[in-house]
């Protein structure tokens, strides 16, 4: 089918219904853009995905909106507006909200594929370290330097977990 305004192939097909009268219009991309029927298409899939995260309505939103990560302090609703999680532990804390979202974004909820050769890290220890790091940051921000020094020593004694 050819565009009604030039001889290029028609790729945009519109149907108008006015007073129960049906009218069809066939245009090529250039004419459709020139006549403002369609916007010039920017290829921006991640931005579209961002919208999906923001607009995704889950049934337990009330319950979820009360969730706060004890490790990094991010609230579930902050994640929903920003589209970014605060720390690895959020995948555990926000799990009931994330699973349906992952199903929608990724069409899956479970990892298949490579895993670290060392095996997964010892989680409770890592959470403790991450929490200590957050307390240390708060102490530094509050200029509570004695407390900060104590936390820094404690962190050092836990060893370096990269």
């Amino acid at each position: 089918m050819k565009c009604q305004f030039c001889s290029q192939p028609a790729t945009v097909h519109l149907t108008k219904i006015i007073d129960q009268q049906k009218q069809e219009i066939h245009l090529c991309q250039d004419c459709a853009e020139a006549k403002n029927f369609v916007k010039h298409q920017e290829l921006n899939l991640p931005a579209l995905l961002q919208n999906v995260i923001g607009q995704f309505l889950d049934p337990h939103l009330d319950e979820l909106s009360r969730l706060v990560c004890p490790v990094c302090g991010i609230r579930y609703m902050e994640f929903r507006t920003q589209g970014r999680l605060g720390c690895p532990h959020d995948y555990t804390v926000f799990r009931s909200g994330l699973e349906p979202l992952l199903q929608r974004l990724q069409r899956s909820q479970r990892h298949v594929g490579k895993s670290p050769r060392q095996g997964p890290a010892p989680t409770p220890q890592l959470i403790e370290i991450a929490q200590l790091r957050r307390q240390l940051q708060s102490a530094v921000d509050a200029e509570a330097y004695e407390e900060a020094a104590r936390l820094r020593d404690l962190l050092r004694s836990k060893g370096s977990h990269g």
Binding site: Q29, C72, L85, L102, Q106, S108, V112, A130
Partner: protein
């Protein structure tokens, strides 16, 4: 690491070699990784970001990779140098524009680049010329294994490698192939290809990634899904679809030659003539014209020019590259003059005359 030494070369991905390199410019794989015991970059304080950077930099520089990686501290670079790295695809626009402690480790051949404190703590990237996804995977997998022996990655059995954005979780892998598709674009069949790709969950983007326009008729095709499929499955999906797109592009080129050889010859010659004689040239116009000349070389309508030379002109006429070549900062209009002068000189040096 001295960035100026890179200025006069065109980098691995534009070397113009490797399988199907008339249509496939480069193959790239990126892995997103995070440290287990730190908040993600967007939630880390400046001092935490410093700590993350120091830790990763130390581990990265100990890697036994030949040639050895050099580390570039991004806040210490001028805007021009950051832009220069973006144009070479060694860092993302996001890393260039971010704030706070961050950097990139680069190999001398520019195949490996490891970004620190991007959206995720670590973004590994391997980029190679031509259709070489499997080789790129082998290399990045090896670097990832070596790093993993020195770093505790954020990983869960259920969700895989944990990332700041749930669109990357699982394998954390984005595999992409950059294609030059002038004939599919000219015959407007490209939209059909896109729709077909989107149906099988592959994404299409322009040359410089998210939101960028497909200038120079370059398109990046990459996987959208990172969870629930293994790395091998994801690579196989891309591997099975690219040869079809290559075939469509070749068919479109042949049809164009068969049905309107004179028209194509005219388009290529005009593009060539403009590049050889214009005195003002925008980056966008340069990309478009070089694209037609590249097509002309591939279908043997242009003789004396090689693909590596054209690839080099693509990169050297980008704004930051041009300013580094000239050795001074230039405003938009000055750049257009300098770009046109550079193109004229280079094409004359190559001893080329338009047909």
């Amino acid at each position: 690491m001295n960035l100026d030494s890179l200025t006069h070369t065109s980098g691995e991905w534009l070397r113009g070699s490797g399988p199907e390199s008339d249509i496939v410019i480069s193959s790239r794989i990126r892995l997103a990784r995070n440290l287990a015991a730190f908040p993600f970059t967007n939630r880390a304080s400046t001092s935490q970001k410093s700590e993350i950077e120091a830790l990763l930099r130390e581990r990265i520089l100990k890697l036994e990779i030949t040639p050895r990686l050099g580390y570039v501290n991004l806040p210490g670079l001028s805007n021009l140098d950051r832009q220069f790295l973006v144009e070479r695809q060694l860092i993302s626009r996001e890393l260039a524009a971010a704030e706070g402690p961050r950097g990139v480790a680069l190999g001398a051949q520019e195949t490996v680049s490891l970004m620190v404190n991007e959206e995720d703590h670590l973004r590994l990237q391997v980029m190679r010329s031509g259709f070489t996804l499997n080789e790129a995977w082998e290399q990045i997998d090896q670097v990832d294994d070596m790093l993993e022996q020195r770093i505790t990655y954020a990983f869960s059995e259920e969700f895989g490698y944990l990332t700041a954005c749930p669109t990357n979780v699982g394998t954390g892998m984005r595999a992409s192939v950059m294609l030059h598709l002038p004939a599919l674009e000219y015959t407007k069949q490209i939209e059909k290809v896109f729709r077909a790709l989107q149906k099988i969950n592959l994404a299409v983007r322009g040359l410089y990634g998210e939101g960028s326009r497909a200038s120079g008729h370059f398109y990046q095709i990459s996987n959208q899904v990172t969870l629930g499929k293994s790395e091998a499955q994801i690579l196989e999906e891309i591997h099975s679809v690219i040869p079809q797109i290559i075939r469509y592009e070749r068919e479109a080129r042949n049809a164009w030659l068969r049905d309107n050889r004179q028209g194509l010859q005219d388009k290529v010659s005009r593009a060539f003539g403009t590049l050889c004689s214009a005195t003002m040239m925008t980056s966008e116009e340069t990309m478009e014209l070089l694209s037609y000349v590249r097509l002309g070389v591939n279908v043997q309508l242009v003789g004396d020019l090689t693909i590596p030379t054209i690839n080099e002109l693509f990169i050297q006429t980008q704004p930051a590259h041009l300013q580094k070549l000239v050795g001074m900062s230039l405003d938009g209009e000055e750049r257009n003059t300098a770009r046109a002068r550079y193109l004229r000189t280079r094409l004359r040096e190559a001893g080329v005359m338009p047909n």
